[in-house]
């Protein structure tokens, strides 16, 4: 993506679960709801599968923000995976702050298989939000230091 | 714990007997009340109906004064006043954006937390045992229809007091006097509130329905805890109804032996003496 154009185009990597959010994003597609092309979704079985290292790696590879989205609480395909994920995030957030990553760059949401509109609105919203935050650079500094 | 007393405008005028009976009862039951210094009108419905911020700022000043005077709770016997105080306070606690605007309007800081605001029933409810212990003239055999009107129980989420459709607290207090509370259907129906003058016919119509039902379910009198309800029900009765309208504080006062005169029992338009004898 051309980061040199006048307007900064953020790169956002999304980790989504197969059952809810991936399907919700599919629904946004079948409903032809338009949203910015800054998002790249990586499909996993469950948000419970997501390791903190995936997020760090995403930032390392130049992401300006990371989105994690799965099933609504109580609705997990695997009954409790997203619950474990949420418990881990509280700890993980601290780690991020420690690593110098602005927690506003790590976004969480719930999008169910029926919420195509929610997905498209979410991407609108976070793209605008991250554009405002500007490019993510501090991590590089830390890694190099 | 200092309890601020907020009589409100009606209790200074048309509802003088409500004020008298509350003060007399507070003394009899040893529940000290201190009038909030320099309180102002809550604005009633006229304010919030036409200017939202004014409707918040008027009650806010009184609450801010009470807090500044070291009071930790407010007793506001008038249902309309207590409703306005509670609703306004709930709104600024819920929406922090309003706090600044209100503080600017009243030129005073608002208390940080929630100041408990108690209506007439809540004032008496914790002291039922005290009332039973102090009983001098039990009202055994009297059938009373407890009338809550609108503002004691609504909006339910904001006032968070009793069940909005089938409230029970006033019946509990009334039962402590030995009276029997009848089951009737108009306990939370509106009496026409502020339309006494501007749409008198409405009030007459509404009060008629309420009193008819109280009568048909066998009540000897209607018990109220709001000066507006009282004024409407007392003064706008259909011809020949002659239903005594008694404040809860008067009922309890009588039962614990406060002199009728001190309770202002002679001040009603529809005479109450025969029913209470």
């Amino acid at each position: 993506m051309a980061a040199t154009t006048a307007e900064f185009e953020p790169k956002i990597i999304a980790f989504v679960c197969n059952w809810c959010t991936y399907a919700g994003a599919d629904l946004a597609g079948t409903s032809r709801l338009k949203y910015p092309a800054n998002i790249r979704a990586i499909r996993l079985t469950c948000t419970g599968r997501i390791e903190p290292m995936f997020l760090l790696k995403a930032f390392q590879e130049g992401a300006d923000a990371v989105l994690v989205s799965g099933c609504h609480p109580g609705d997990c395909h695997y009954t409790s995976g997203n619950y474990h994920a949420r418990r881990r995030w509280t700890i993980f957030r601290k780690l991020l702050e420690f690593s110098g990553i602005d927690p506003r760059r790590v976004l969480f949401s719930w999008v169910s298989a029926a919420e195509g509109r929610k997905w498209s609105e979410l991407i609108d919203e976070i793209t605008a939000q991250v554009r405002e935050l500007g490019p993510f650079t501090s991590f590089e500094r830390i890694v190099k230091a | 714990m200092a309890t601020g007393y907020y009589p409100g405008c009606s209790l200074e005028g048309t509802a003088a007997e409500f004020d008298m009976s509350i003060r007399a009862l507070a003394e009899a039951l040893q529940l000290p009340l201190t009038e909030i210094e320099d309180w102002n009108c809550c604005g009633a419905s006229a304010a919030h109906q036409t200017n939202h911020l004014l409707g918040l700022a008027l009650p806010a000043r009184t609450i801010a004064l009470a807090a500044a005077q070291g009071m930790e709770e407010i007793v506001a016997p008038c249902a309309a006043c207590s409703n306005r105080l509670i609703a306004a306070q709930a709104e600024w606690l819920d929406n922090s954006g309003l706090r600044g605007d209100i503080e600017h309007a009243i030129g005073m800081p608002l208390p940080a937390g929630r100041l408990p605001i108690r209506n007439c029933i809540e004032f008496l409810l914790p002291h039922i045992e005290k009332i039973t212990a102090a009983l001098r003239k039990p009202l055994t055999g009297k059938k009373v229809a407890c009338y809550y009107g609108c503002l004691l129980v609504r909006p339910p989420k904001v006032v968070a007091f009793d069940d909005p459709e089938n409230p029970v607290t006033m019946e509990k207090v009334a039962a402590a006097t030995g009276a029997e509370a009848v089951d009737w259907g108009f306990r939370t129906e509106c009496c026409g509130a502020a339309f006494a003058m501007s749409s008198t016919a409405s009030v007459v119509r509404l009060c008629g329905r309420i009193l008819d039902n109280a009568r048909s379910e066998g009540a000897h009198m209607v018990i109220v805890a709001c000066p507006l309800c009282h004024a409407n029900l007392d003064m706008r009765q259909p011809k020949g109804m002659a239903m005594p309208i008694v404040y809860l504080s008067q009922l309890v006062g009588l039962a614990v032996g406060v002199a009728p005169k001190a309770l202002g029992l002679g001040k009603h338009i529809t005479p109450v003496a025969p029913a209470l004898a």
Partner: protein
């Protein structure tokens, strides 16, 4: 060396209009490891699949990436094609350039650039894919059906008639469920018990069905084809083998004033009782909470009177264990509790309708009992307070349903129909009476349903008033119903007050109490209201997300008898399909433990929702214990990956979604 083939699909115009497919194919050809890259108009068509197969054979591909629609759409199609060409199907991946790209973006340049990246991500992944083989598991060809309402009975009968064994568990003393309580049924008005009781008897006597009434599922473990179920048989206090069902005990029991659950509190029963005359099995239980013997040691009459000595006060709950291969959940519904409100669920009740303080305000099931020939009034419609026939009956629809304020925004779907039925039945029995129906909409979307409602209005003269009732209060002996006719305006705004003798509330259908606990035992999900969730709202309506567990009837959502029966037969067909082979195949997306690295902390065990982590002891040659390590039971593991993310020593990985694969995908986004 990896030899990857990339196949870019135009999907007709769907992708081709926004994404420059030839350009994507050309750029993909340059990715390291890609040896073949083409684009084509319809890749999923026969010739399209042919392109893939041909390339696999000719270019000796080790991996395939199809850039097309969502993998949820066609992954299985292309994997099958690969398998046919001799490539392990799990070496095929899809890049979603339609739903996630061409359909949601407008700028052709941006969309094309994104498509290229999405292809690179999958190329990076597929390079690290490994051949996987479907897991085969044996199947126990016996089914468990939970709940003996019409849905459970139907499912059990269909499976049994298919030649497979069924264990049917019902928590009440008799099967039959709510249908047994109904008087007549829409849209044909046939007698409910007449059509139901033969099925109940058939279920109880079927050689392939083992019936456990007064029983509940205690615990469930295992997985599709291999569940272990523990069932609690509640103490009946009656030896069901000895009891002949003569009924003498109930006749003599001095405790006669217990509100009957079956008659919805409108009739009374004894402490030793069968719920209703046609109960199956027709053998009593003692309700210990109301029996004098259990309350204070006195009485004992039933034991003395029983000619065969079947009464046994010392019985205790017992447990049995069953192995089953599939489970059908058919626990049905209950009605919204308008009498007490539902404060436990944070739902305010209908105080404005009297919270059940008025005896003559009843719900639909109570009306069914009043109208039923087997009911407490022998089928005469008499009001509960004074036993007189009501002259004016008001029916109120959508009570608790379609009401956000009470937390239940759904439509209960059956009440529009049964209220029309009630109005009809009432008019058939009290000719001079008037039936008023307050409604918001009339939802009668079924075969012959709307005609049925029209008949209630046109032929039987039910007065339908469009508006919700605001309040009911008592005046004299009457119930004044205050509503509005929103189709009228004018002075008074269409306000309506009806002095009714009887009010019937069409209260919401709710899932059974305790459904959440049962769902957790079964590891199946439920929606925000507690209805059990199907795997897909349209295409897999009888399956759950847990393989081998199926749904039937009103436990999944409000439904009437035809729908409940249809779904039950659907579930039975799924079960029979499952039982048609001796083994079954599962997707091999499972976790693996690297036991040499595992430190035995067993955090993984705590997070695994399927109890798939086992503990294994490692011993040296002398048999001394060296270590306890984790092991994944591949039969149980569903591949969620929670254990992988939890393991601090990185000792577990997930096939198909390994850490290496995900890292390489992220890397592909550079």
């Amino acid at each position: 060396m990896a030899r990857i083939g990339v196949f870019v699909c135009w999907c007709g115009e769907n992708i081709g209009r926004t994404v420059d497919c030839p350009k994507v194919a050309a750029e993909a050809a340059e990715f390291p490891g890609v040896v073949h890259s083409v684009d084509y108009k319809y890749m999923c068509s026969d010739p399209g699949q042919g392109l893939v197969k041909e390339a696999i054979r000719e270019k000796k591909l080790t991996g395939v990436v199809v850039a097309a629609c969502s993998p949820r759409m066609h992954e299985s199609t292309f994997r099958r094609a690969c398998a046919e060409a001799g490539l392990n199907p799990f070496l095929c991946e899809m890049a979603n350039i339609r739903e996630h790209c061409s359909w949601v973006h407008e700028d052709r340049g941006e969309a094309t650039a994104k498509a290229v990246q999405l292809v690179r991500v999958m190329v990076e992944k597929v390079k690290r894919n490994e051949a996987l083989f479907p897991i085969k598991v044996p199947v126990t060809k016996r089914a468990l059906v939970i709940g003996g309402g019409i849905a459970g009975i139907q499912a059990a009968l269909d499976i049994a008639n298919g030649g497979k064994k069924v264990v049917l568990v019902e928590k009440e003393p008799s099967i039959g469920g709510h249908m047994a309580q109904l008087s007549e049924t829409f849209p044909t008005l046939d007698c409910s018990q007449c059509i139901l009781t033969p099925r109940m008897v058939e279920a109880a006597t079927h050689p392939n069905i083992t019936l456990h009434t007064y029983a509940e599922v205690e615990s469930v473990s295992g997985f599709i084809g291999n569940f272990d179920v523990k069932i609690r048989l509640k103490a009946r206090s009656v030896d069901i083998k000895k009891c002949t069902g003569c009924g003498l005990c109930a006749q003599k029991c001095p405790q006669k004033k217990i509100p009957s659950e079956f008659d919805e509190g409108l009739g009374m029963r004894t402490a030793i009782y069968t719920p209703f005359a046609q109960a199956v099995p027709n053998k009593p239980v003692i309700d210990r909470a109301h029996c004098t013997k259990f309350l204070n040691g006195k009485c004992g009459i039933c034991q003395k009177i029983c000619p065969v000595g079947a009464v046994d006060y010392t019985q205790e709950d017992t447990f049995i264990e069953e192995k089953v291969g599939a489970i059908v959940v058919a626990t049905g519904y209950r009605l919204y509790d308008f009498r007490n409100g539902e404060k436990d669920y944070g739902i305010e009740g209908y105080g404005e309708y009297g919270y059940g303080q008025y005896k003559d305000v009843i719900d639909g099931l109570q009306f069914e009992r009043l109208a039923s020939a087997s009911g407490p009034t022998g089928g005469e419609i008499l009001r509960p307070s004074d036993g007189k026939p009501p002259e004016k009956v008001v029916f109120i629809k959508c009570v608790g349903s379609r009401d956000c304020a009470k937390g239940l925004s759904y439509c209960s779907k059956i009440c529009c129909m049964y209220i029309a039925k009630h109005a009809m039945l009432y008019k058939h029995k009290v000719h001079h009476g008037t039936a008023y129906v307050f409604y918001m909409d009339i939802r009668a979307g079924g075969k012959s349903y709307d005609e049925f409602v029209r008949r209630a209005i046109e032929e039987d003269g039910a007065v339908y008033i469009r508006g919700r009732v605001s309040r009911i209060y008592k005046r004299g002996g009457k119930l004044v119903v205050v509503g509005a006719d929103t189709l009228l305006g004018g002075t008074g705004g269409g306000r309506v007050e009806i002095e009714a003798d009887l009010v019937v509330l069409a209260t919401a259908m709710r899932p059974q109490y305790g459904i959440e606990a049962l769902a957790q035992k079964l590891s199946i999900s439920y929606d925000e209201y507690g209805f059990l969730s199907e795997a897909h709202p349209k295409l897999r309506p009888v399956e759950t997300n847990t393989a081998g567990i199926f749904l039937a009837g009103a436990c999944q959502g409000a439904k009437d008898i035809p729908e409940a029966v249809g779904q039950a037969s659907g579930a039975a067909a799924k079960v029979l399909g499952l039982f048609s082979g001796d083994e079954l195949e599962r997707e091999p997306i499972v976790a693996h433990v690297n036991q040499s690295q595992c430190v035995g902390c067993f955090y993984c065990e705590q997070v695994c929702p399927y109890h798939a982590i086992e503990r294994e002891e490692k011993r040296d040659k002398a048999g001394n214990l060296i270590a306890r390590v984790a092991k994944v039971n591949a039969g149980l593991c569903q591949g969620c990956g929670a254990c992988v993310a939890t393991c601090r020593s990185n000792s577990i990985d997930l096939d198909g979604f390994s850490a290496e694969q995900v890292f390489s995908q992220i890397g592909g986004l550079k």
